[in-house]
């Protein structure tokens, strides 16, 4: 066996990770007081599955990712547990974290493609990240990098090029190759394609899906694009204003949403027409996200929810899981079928807008 | 399209004037304790500069005499001369107090001139770009290649040592860095979408510069002027220390120069300490203000 096959075999033996986030709360320290960006969020990523984390900007998706990676700023209060294969990785020491980041969890962010070092060739940057964790010769690391380039569909010859010679989409693919190089059991992708145009997005998502199928890694995909989630993820979690409002199997959550916010997201999402059927109009959700320095007492969506009743403004709904694994945080979850019909009418939301 | 003036109950359109913007900057500064310390020092120094003639017990060039009628040389601090006397029998306190005036005049006038020249250069080069930018920046490059101290020594020596010439030399030296810094700030501002929009709407260059560019680079200009005051004071002190100061006025640099040339730099601490501390405090207070302003005005360093 060659050294490379040896290395590949060793890395391939890493099992897909199981990630369990339990009662995660994150409060950023700001000089106006604590900012409760995440409030009591729990979810589980089973080994080899992909979880889609969706919600509008500012609802705390990146904060969840940063909390898992221990990348939050100093003055932040974090409580709860993040169990990676049963071991809590919240609040580990820097040294212990070294063993976790990249080798067990790797991260791809939206801005990663801009964070490549402009004076080092791409290959050296990947090799550097491999050598930081594996005691192997340079040539072997380079061979591994070339292999990863092939996985993301880039020719190995371009390893010698510098970031400025790559287009945005190619740089993002190079970053994905880097994130894959140690075959971490858990891949966190925070909006990996936002800001790229649809063709580029499609190319990158195709690669990510391919990786998921071939390498069977566990993954969290953060995005605001529910269509991408519906094509990529087994399970979906919807966040709103720092809370998890709905989660479950993707088909259940996106096709039969039980939370009014998910219904709103569905209706607001532009779709291509299907021949022979008349297309739903686009409907936007009125109003804006509440200020989390002073979170509302009741349901956080109540100010924008067309179905809000007195109870909603007074009491926070609990996230309740039904037997099919579909969890919803809404006082009126059992009326979901009725809400779904109403939510498809632009009138329903317009009435709420007028009331705001 | 609008034939008759339609009625409206809208209140008059108002925004912040220059005054309000200045007030806002001031309020920002007050939020930073270092900047407040700097401003307190600066205010006290300014008051001393203004009231120096009334505060100084003697004329700075008046010779102190002993009871026996001899020149009172290098006397340590006493009740009559709280900061002692110089090797030529002058009262150190009075010289020190008059020194505030020179520092302020040199600092303010030079910084004002530097501020105007670098702003005009930077804005014109950055905003118009192209050939104008090339030409102006080549001029700046040439200016930048002139070594600071040798140039000032030669220039002052040729022009003659007077406050006006020193200010002139300082201005010639410091506009060039400012022009570069302000130009790069303008380059970022110029690319803002609202500037592009204003051009699309038909706005004149003057309108865009006055309305969109200048207010948004005010921060950089202010910082540069603050720093220029410090540079100017230090340069004047260096020139005077080298003996190129205006002989008709008393500056801190000159005090140090006389102390040095009379060989008392190591012994007469009462003569050396006041001007040194004056320089240190003045320059530090300006840096503190600049730093505090930077920190408060930079939205990335400050969370709402």
């Amino acid at each position: 066996m060659t050294a490379l096959q040896d290395l590949n075999a060793r890395l391939a033996q890493k099992p897909a990770a199981r990630l369990e986030v339990k009662n995660l709360c994150v409060a950023y320290g700001t000089f106006r007081g604590p900012f409760n960006a995440i409030d009591n969020v729990s979810f589980t990523v089973e080994p080899g599955t992909t979880l889609g984390l969706v919600g509008e900007s500012g609802c705390g998706k990146s904060t969840v990712v940063k909390a898992i990676m221990n990348l939050l700023p100093e003055a932040t209060t974090v409580t709860g547990d993040v169990l990676l294969n049963g071991k809590n990785i919240l609040g580990l020491s820097d040294k212990a974290l070294q063993q976790v980041r990249w080798t067990q969890i790797s991260l791809i962010t939206q801005s990663a493609m801009n964070s490549l070092d402009p004076v080092l060739c791409i290959g050296d940057q990947i090799v550097e990240s491999i050598l930081a964790h594996e005691k192997i010769p340079y040539g072997l690391a380079w061979a591994r990098a070339a292999e990863m380039f092939a996985v993301v569909g880039l020719p190995a010859a371009r390893l010698r090029e510098f970031p400025h010679q790559f287009s945005g989409g190619m740089r993002q693919r190079a970053v994905i190759a880097m994130a894959l190089s140690l075959n971490a059991g858990m891949l966190l992708a925070d909006e990996p394609t936002t800001a790229l145009d649809p063709i580029m997005q499609d190319q990158i998502m195709t690669r990510i899906r391919g990786i998921h199928e071939h390498l069977r890694r566990s993954m969290i995909l953060v995005t605001h694009d529910i269509a991408v989630v519906s094509e990529t993820c087994e399970t979906t979690a919807v966040m709103y204003a720092g809370k998890l409002v709905e989660s479950g199997a993707t088909a259940d959550v996106l096709q039969r949403p039980r939370h009014p916010y998910t219904m709103g997201l569905q209706n607001a999402f532009p779709k291509l027409p299907v021949r022979g059927t008349s297309r739903q109009p686009l409907i936007s959700i009125p109003g804006t996200v509440p200020n989390l320095l002073m979170p509302p007492r009741g349901c956080r969506f109540a100010s924008r929810c067309p179905f809000a009743a007195a109870l909603c403004h007074a009491e926070q709904p609990e996230l309740i899981q039904s037997s099919d694994g579909h969890a919803v945080a809404c006082h009126f979850a059992e009326r979901a079928p009725e809400f779904r019909l109403a939510a498809r009418q632009a009138e329903t939301w317009r009435a709420k807008e007028a009331a705001i | 399209m609008s034939q008759s003036t339609p009625k409206t109950d809208l209140p008059p359109i108002a925004g912040k004037g220059m005054l309000a913007a200045a007030r806002e900057s001031f309020i920002l500064l007050i939020g930073d304790s270092f900047a407040v310390a700097g401003m307190v020092i600066l205010t006290i120094f300014a008051a001393i500069a203004i009231f120096a003639p009334w505060l100084a017990p003697y004329d700075p060039f008046q010779a102190m005499l002993t009871e026996s009628g001899r020149l009172l040389r290098l006397a340590p601090p006493s009740s009559a001369n709280p900061f002692g006397t110089t090797a030529f029998g002058n009262d150190v306190l009075s010289q020190f107090l008059y020194g505030f005036r020179v520092a302020f005049i040199v600092g303010l006038v030079a910084a004002f001139a530097v501020g105007i020249i670098s702003t005009v250069f930077g804005v014109v080069a950055g905003y118009f770009g192209g050939l104008i930018d090339d030409v102006l920046m080549r001029i700046t490059d040439v200016a930048l290649s002139i070594p600071t101290l040798p140039f000032s020594i030669v220039a002052v020596a040729l022009l003659g040592p007077s406050i006006e010439n020193i200010v002139l030399v300082i201005t010639l030296l410091f506009w060039r860095n400012g022009a570069r810094i302000i130009r790069s700030a303008v380059l970022t501002e110029r690319e803002r979408v609202y500037v592009k929009w204003a051009r699309a709407a038909g706005a004149s260059h003057i309108h865009i510069i006055m309305r969109h560019i200048l207010p948004n680079i005010f921060r950089v200009v202010f910082l540069w002027i603050t720093m220029s005051v410090a540079f100017a004071v230090l340069t004047e002190a260096s020139l005077s220390f080298l003996g190129l100061g205006d002989p008709t006025v008393i500056s801190w640099g000159q005090m140090l120069n006389t102390a040095f040339s009379s060989g008392s730099l190591r012994t007469a601490w009462w003569w050396v300490l006041p001007p040194s501390l004056g320089l240190i405090f003045l320059v530090s207070s300006l840096y503190l203000i600049g730093r505090g302003y930077e920190e408060q005005a930079n939205p990335r360093l400050r969370r709402r």
Binding site: S57, S284 | I13, Y194
Partner: protein
Amino acid sequence: MTRASTPAVVTAENLQTHFQARAGLVSALAGRTPPAIRALDGVDLTIGEREIVGLVGESGCGKSTLGMSLVRMYEPTGGDVLYHSEPVTHLKGRALKQYRREAQIIFQDPYSSLNPRLTIGQIIEEPLKIHGIGPALERRALIARALDHVRIPASTHLDSYPSDLSGGQRQRVAIARALVLEPRFIVADEPVSMLDVSIQASVLELLDELSRELGLAVLYISHDIATVGYICNHVAVMYLGQIVEEGPAEDILAEPLHPYTQRLMAAIPNMTPGAVRSRIELKGDVPSPQNIPPGCRFSSRCPFATDLCTSVAPELATLADGRRVRCHLYDGAIAEAYPGLTPPRAEIAA
């Protein structure tokens, strides 16, 4: 042009906007000039009254350059821009300023399109001041009306600053600022691509309403072909500085003909259950507008490319249903050269 539904407001005729890349000092001295960047290379397009024309294509294909050339932010290097049949291609000075009142542009980024130091009132008043319109009282009335159009309550927001507004509200203010001069033509350059999905619809709806109520001609630029169908009557697809397909929105979305349009639509993820997207892989990246491939510009990536495609550039041919397509598959040339090859029909619809 077969489309004569409404009177034309703006027309591009064989419009070209080439940029001269700046030469380095050495090559400038040597007298060498780098090849021109042919960002816009022969575009014909008409936008009528009360009409929203969608312009789609990958980033870098020249959409913004077309928008900017139409509102005369750029001076075209060839062809013509007609405004109500009058050429405005090379207007200067006063005449250009007058045209700027009639043609306005809205940019993508709602966060940097408003000067953070000005109040909403000042921001919307600015164009009026630039054009020396009215005494203060009349200006106020116009501002009130513009804010009313975009449904922002003037009473509460006149003195607020952009930082007090959400992204959607800022984009509305940007629209109000464009409307206050009562233009006849608006270019909306990706007005919603930086907004949250949940509020995109409201901005699109607003554009639609304004176009109908005020009779505006709107060029709606987007890289996302999915949003185009909601508000546009007519769609043009661009590739590398040229229009490759153009026609009524429903037709193009239902059955894209040009291989590139098919690829664009196949890239949109689909959440309809059971829908299978056709996977058209494209080779390589978009060529640089400084180095345009010979023959069909899409031939370097087209899965259907033949030898003919790499040598002869196809014309924008008008089909029987009035649609225009720039591809040899539809102009009969391939059928002639390669009998037996049939045009790929759309594989998109589920």
